[in-house]
């Protein structure tokens, strides 16, 4: 029992740390990618190649004056960024970060917990995330913040539908909600491909919705500088602003992890059973591959951000309700028909 507890605590702390470090360096990565895509050099003053830049940014956030507007609702004002941060961190529990490690004959799974409603839990937690933005925006008692918050919630609700339906098609195919099992089903070899091969349309809808859910460009209307000053975090300063930004990067990391898990085989990689390595070596290599996939998607998020201009609000709603929703329903029906036909 103590063994089990120690192993779980180690795993939780490990995942927590890795999430924070990745989110921290995603801010640095974002600035570097932005610079490179615009033919610039990017931050290179703090440490070699500027790798200490996130630490400097974090320190700056802590040193800044903490301003709470006198007309705001102080309790909710503090609650907003806290919810955003907590919910962003909660989804990492469900991701299978690797296969099992066998130490002294006991097998230890690299997934913190594999509950059988896995995807539903992830969805539930991500949906709570919008409360952080909504509460923070409303509690600031600022018109721009409120507009940003309303946009954020409207956008998230619209895109969650299409996202959910695209996932249902995937669930119909895999027959399980557990993330661990979905990954195991995609294990390599013998014409067993990753889910993206069977669900290309679903993947497309999912990734577009993931952009919208993370409030990333081209759907970053909630914090659209040209119209809303800073959007929902206009009134925020110091580390509370840092929490909102951090939550965005953690969400991006988690979305990338969910994308890789659901559609790109998670910790599986091609020819993994033909290498003739020991089980533990393959597990570790698989985790490395999973992080490779995650980093690629994080890069993709940034790549798109620094390429596309922002959608107009009506275009955003149009795309969500009149394009993605019917498309995801069509995808669902198509999947159902194909499954029925195979079953016969």
């Amino acid at each position: 029992m103590t063994d089990f507890l120690i192993y779980k605590i180690l795993l939780v702390v490990g995942v927590f740390t890795v999430t924070l470090v990745v989110a921290m360096y995603a801010t640095y990565g974002e600035r570097k990618v932005a610079a490179f895509l615009q033919d610039r050099i990017g931050p290179n003053r703090a440490g070699p190649f500027g790798i200490l830049q996130p630490l400097a940014d974090g320190l700056k956030f802590f040193m800044k004056e903490e301003i709470i507007p006198s007309v705001s609702n102080k309790f909710l004002f503090i609650l907003g960024p806290s919810i955003a941060m907590i919910t962003a961190l909660m989804a990492g529990v469900l991701i299978p970060w690797g296969n099992t490690l066998i130490i002294n004959g006991t097998s230890y799974s690299l997934q913190i917990t594999d509950i059988d409603i896995g995807i539903l839990y992830v969805f539930g937690v991500v949906s709570i995330g919008v409360y952080g933005i909504m509460i923070g925006g409303w509690a600031s008692n600022n018109k721009y913040s409120l507009l940003g918050a309303i946009r954020a919630s409207a956008q998230m609700i619209s895109y969650e539908l299409a996202m959910g339906i695209s996932i249902i098609a995937l669930i119909m195919m895999t027959g399980t909600l557990s993330l661990g099992e979905i990954v195991t089903q995609q294990a390599g070899g013998d014409w067993n491909f990753w889910n993206v091969v069977y669900q290309p349309l679903g993947f497309l809808i999912f990734i577009v919705c993931a952009f919208a859910e993370c409030n990333r460009a081209p759907f970053d209307l909630p914090e659209c500088e040209t119209e809303l000053v800073g959007g929902y975090h206009t009134e925020y300063s110091s580390m509370k602003l840092g929490f909102y930004m951090f939550a965005e990067y953690i969400n991006m990391f988690i979305s990338s992890a969910v994308l890789s898990t659901l559609y790109f085989g998670g910790y599986n990689f091609p020819f993994m059973n033909d290498l003739g390595l020991s089980h533990n070596a393959i597990t570790i290599l698989g985790t490395v591959f999973l992080f490779g996939k995650i980093f690629f998607f994080i890069f993709f998020f940034m790549w798109v951000r620094w390429t596309l201009p922002r959608f107009r609000y009506d275009q955003l709603m149009n795309l969500g309700w009149r394009v993605l929703l019917p498309l995801s329903i069509a995808n669902l029906l198509l999947t159902a028909l194909v499954l029925l036909w195979i079953d016969k």
């Binding site: 490179f36 033919d39 610039r40 790549w303 798109v304 394009v323």
Partner: protein, 189 residues
């Protein structure tokens, strides 16, 4: 009228085609363009360590030259101030006293000479107007400051020091030297 660059497009309000409406081809071509920039040579340099090479005829911070004996060449004639399109130059003239022959070359000199570097557009017309070859633009930079006052450069910053002469020969390109040969132009006399 015929277009000069042939790059302007006539705006039309026609309906988008299906491919345009699903955004994806445009998105893909967009990200293909940006990924090319990832590997391109960077347009910026890490400034204090790496400095860009200046052009030979770079026009920067002005200098008021002294002659071979170390006397100031400027006679405060005011032609540079008249030529200046940005009205950045002001000066007051004064008469040379006895015993100051080693300081000023001619009987009249500029007791104050100020250039407002915020107004200056570094066009080099002052240099062209000067009949005494006293003012030149050099390849030095005008440094930043926090206040406007710091940008009004007086004689302390403009006149070259006797022991550290500033080389302006790089600005004397063959074309300039050729121009100076024409004695019929009044200012070359």
């Amino acid at each position: 009228m015929e277009s000069l660059s042939h790059r302007s497009k006539v705006v039309s309000n026609k309906k988008m085609t299906f491919l345009e409406r699903i955004y994806l081809p445009a998105v893909l071509s967009g990200i293909a363009i940006t990924i090319k920039h990832l590997f391109r040579r960077k347009a910026t340099v890490s400034y204090p360590e790496v400095k860009r090479e200046f052009s030979k005829i770079w026009r920067g911070h002005h200098v008021l030259k002294r002659d071979d004996k170390g006397a100031e060449r400027c006679t405060a004639c005011g032609l540079c101030a008249v030529a200046c399109p940005a009205e950045a130059i002001t000066m007051t003239a004064a008469e040379r006293k006895k015993g100051e022959e080693n300081l000023y070359r001619e009987e009249k000199y500029a007791s104050t000479y100020e250039i407002n570097m915020l107004r200056c557009i570094f066009c080099g017309l002052c240099e062209e107007a000067c009949p005494k070859e006293a003012i030149f633009l050099t390849d030095r930079l005008v440094y930043t400051d926090f206040a406007r006052d710091g940008f009004i450069y007086g004689k302390d910053k403009l006149v070259e020091k006797v022991d550290e002469r500033i080389d302006v020969t790089v600005r004397q390109t063959p074309a300039v030297l050729e121009f100076k040969k024409h004695k019929q132009l009044s200012h070359n006399k």
